[in-house]
């Protein structure tokens, strides 16, 4: 078990290294650096001024050297200005020239500085990840039970009317991307001029102008039913259809197994067959998928967080990408890799629990 964990962590490190190299290379292309300089120091700079800005802020050294600096295996750049002040990577990160050590990268625990938010990357990301974590938690809490119930109800009697109705719903929900369902939901439920809200107001059923809010920024301070329902629903609907389809497939297969016939011919009632005999066997396949779904949800998070202006990880990623915030993007990639591999690990361990056949004595 320990060896297995070590191997997984090793794999995680290698993946993170490869991914960050790629991200680093892409964000450090000359054109991208120019954008960065212009967003940081004024968009009307001449080419010479851009070069000088890059030179002064340590972006002029070769790319691999700067990647080394970011990792913390090479000393950070240091530069003494004409007026005697010392600037440098580590100086900027640690405040004063005296406190700055020689190296300051990931290995030293310094995640760098976000040029977009003008704050430490670690600080920005922990706050944003917390916000997204909350969103994901609610998404999973809505999506997983709904998907499993829909999948199991559809799969327990293959070809029945329930199956067809639920399958149609599942396919429709997974075929509608977030940017479509999100916009639809906003139009339908969160607009004071169209959709349901004006109707409900005119009947006097709700107090406010709209049923749900289309902007989730207030959820950062206080999560309410009104401001959080739409982003959660948007993401959950998309993922739900997919998981429900997998659950249904798994359930229909289990229901044709011989041990289900054994149970039936033992006199077990249909409800008990589904709950006691089929459920656990049918959950093996969807469990892995749900776990894979979590990193995949990060995609959905980007779109719906931007759509509902919820300042979470996805929104941050989006902001970092359009502003070419190099160090924030790098840290985000590391987070993504960790999320993928940790969920994989959980899925492997959970799989062993669900499926006694692969449990090791």
């Amino acid at each position: 078990m320990l060896l297995f964990l070590f191997r997984r962590i090793g794999l995680m490190l290698v993946t993170a290294l490869c991914l960050t190299i790629i991200v680093f290379a892409l964000t450090n292309m000359p054109a991208k650096l120019e954008t960065l300089a212009k967003t940081q120091a004024g968009s009307r700079m001449t080419d010479a001024e851009v070069d000088r800005w890059l030179e002064r802020n340590g972006y002029a050294s070769p790319m691999l050297v700067r990647y080394g600096e970011w990792l913390g295996v090479l000393p950070g750049w240091v530069r003494t200005e004409d007026n005697g002040t010392v600037t440098g990577r580590c100086v900027a990160l640690r405040g004063t020239a005296e406190a700055a050590g020689e190296r300051c990268g990931i290995l030293q625990g310094d995640w760098g500085f976000s040029t977009r938010f003008r704050a430490g990357v670690a600080e920005v990301l922990t706050a944003r990840l917390g916000a997204t974590g909350l969103l994901m938690l609610w998404v999973l809490a809505v999506m997983v039970p709904m998907a499993l119930i829909v999948g199991i109800l559809a799969g327990m009697r293959e070809g029945s009317r329930t199956d067809r109705a639920l399958s149609t719903f599942a396919i429709a929900s997974t075929a509608t991307p977030e940017y479509v369902s999100g916009v639809l939901l906003i139009a339908l439920l969160a607009s004071s001029t169209v959709g349901l809200s004006p109707l409900l107001v005119s009947w006097g059923w709700i107090d406010g102008p709209v049923l749900f809010q289309g902007n989730a920024r207030s959820a950062l301070d206080d999560i309410t039913f009104s401001n959080f329902t739409l982003p959660v629903l948007t993401i959950a609907l998309y993922g739900m259809g997919y998981v429900a389809r997998i659950t249904r497939a798994s359930m229909t297969e289990v229901m044709t197994q011989q041990y289900i016939r054994t149970a039936r011919l033992k006199g077990v009632s249909f409800g008990k067959i589904v709950v006691r005999h089929a459920l656990r066997n049918a959950l093996i396949a969807p469990f892995t998928v749900i776990m894979l779904q979590i990193p995949w949800l990060l995609n959905g998070v980007v779109i719906s967080e931007v759509l509902f202006s919820y300042p979470g990880f996805g929104w941050t990623l989006y902001e970092a990408a359009i502003n070419n915030d190099i160090e924030l993007l790098l840290a985000s990639s590391v987070v993504a890799v960790v999320v993928v591999l940790v969920t994989q690990l959980i899925s492997d361990v959970g799989y062993v629990y669900l499926n006694p056949r692969i449990r090791i004595s």
Binding site: L265, R276, R280
Partner: protein
Amino acid sequence: MTENAPAWDETQPILEIENLSISFFTRLREIPAVMDFSCRVMKGEAMGLVGESGCGKSTVALAVMRDLGVNGRIVGGKIRFKGRDLTAMSQEELRQIRGSEIAMIYQEPMASLNPAMKIGDQLAEVPMIHQKMPKSQARALARQLVADVRLPDPDRILDAYPHQLSGGQQQRIVIAMALMSKPALLILDEPTTALDVTVEAGIVDLVNDLAAKYGTSMLFISHNLGLVMEVCDRITVMYSGEAVETGNITDVFDKMRHPYTQALFRSIPLPGADKTSRPLKAIPGNFPLPHERPRGCNFGPRCDYFVKGRCDAQEIPMLPVAGDTRHDSRCIRFDEIDWNAPIAAGVQHDSSHIGEVVLSMENVRKYYEVAASSLFKGGDTKVVKANETLSFDAREGETLAIVGESGCGKSTFAKVLMGLETATDGQIMLFDENVQSTPIQHRNTDTVSSLQMVFQNPFDTLNPSMTVGRQIVRALEIFGVGASDAERQQRMLELLDLVKLPREFANRMPRQLSGGQKQRVGIARAFAGNAKVVIADEPVSALDVSVQAAVTELLMDIQRKNRTTLLFISHDLSIVRYLSDRVLVMYLGHVVELGTTDQVFAPPYHPYTEALLSAVPIADTRIEKKRIVLEGDIPSAVNPPPGCPFQTRCRWKSQVPGGICETEMPPLRDVGGGHQVKCHLSAEILAGMEPVFTVAAE
């Protein structure tokens, strides 16, 4: 049990099926699966239902359970259980009967147990549903039943998952589950087909004892006539959806009155059949498809006694046989047929003469190293000793049978010989070449084409997307036979002739062929490069008896013509006795006995051979057999017992002084005439062994 069931007179049949007809409905048409089937099972009686695959016997069983699926429907007739009509019951009434009054035992024990539920929970569920028994009491009952089916350490078993048990143990659990609420009727659907013969013998014993103990009636479905004879009192023979003959076991076995029953008996190798003097007689033609059944008698087109204008004129009813009790036959001519006429002498062959040694193995060993687990642990590896010091010769034109149960190493041996694996140690001489360490990709075309294999499962060994002809031509190309495509095409057609398939089959796809036909294609492919040595790995065990006979005869024919050396791997001792010249018995990777067929099948035996012989069910009422049931399972090859591999199950062990069976590996010693036995028993004791079979005086 169900309190509201009306009082039932014990002299009436437990199960009475009357003119039952079942059809399956597809989008295209209605497919009748069972027509006009009637039978009665009295209290404590065991009824055997035999027939080839597709004859509808399992459909009858599922109809009794009313579990025919969405497509199947009972279209006529009645099924009465204790006087109540099952066909008219509601789902809720059925649920109360299922598992409590009628229980079923299935063909594949592994598949019929829930893999994610502990054995104890699966067993305890039955009385908890039907008798509303509290859980602790139900578990205590489960424990008792597990002990009743003679499983060791019941507490451990109750806490185990199905995959932690062996196949034989799983089947015992399924039996225990069926008996949990002491049902009045037990339906057994091929309960031992997936098990080894010695395990099968144990299960059959158990079923007989338990049925006697609880007074349970049984409906026993099997394709194995010998097994039915051992278990049942009465038998119903089915053919193509109809019962063709029914009666007491002794009446049907000794005085059969239906041509199909007779043909079935003539196609199984009973002791006395012999490949040279009394060859098997296969049933000509093929089983009719359900929607292509002939008019009149279904068996008509394949029947030796068919009379045009009578047998195909009208539907044939079941007619009682005069003089016997409850013995009926679906043949209008059974009074006119001379049932005692000797079998029309088939083509007799001279026994072929046996030539030079072509294959010789010397002290061949094959060990596998397995990592304990690649995922969660690492480091220590275990060694599986699949083959230990295998030595023997095979000669030109000879049939050498290799016999043993699953896990004895016979398939590993075939792989090593073929070059799919290389031997760990020892020498294999094929003609005059050492091949023990040459994997198949490094062997030259000559060696590969002269050493070929016929596989067990004809359904999976043909490429489903290539025509039959193309597959054979492909083999010819690989073996470098023929100079041009036209020549190879010609040779392919000749090969189809050789395996007695019509030449049009060259353009057919494998899915259009029956099992027996596919196996013929497999044989044609093996002989494409004029193979000198052919390993046949259970070539007929997946086929029906009547087809088995035909395929066996075909192999023998080709062998006679080509003087091929045939290594016939099998667990079926009847067929081995019928066709082999010499027999090699394997147990846990060791050769325990080697000799000519007569030597091996007569005393002195190796104790394992003795048990194996006694376990084989024989469909002949005149033969009396000693019953030796082996205790326990085959030990694991990862952790074999010290000393003699068979010592853990040997009933002769106490006869060897000094307990050396547990410490020393016995030598392979000659007991006369080249007959070798790996046993510590003294020559006197071996000589004093009694034969397993005796033919009762008539």
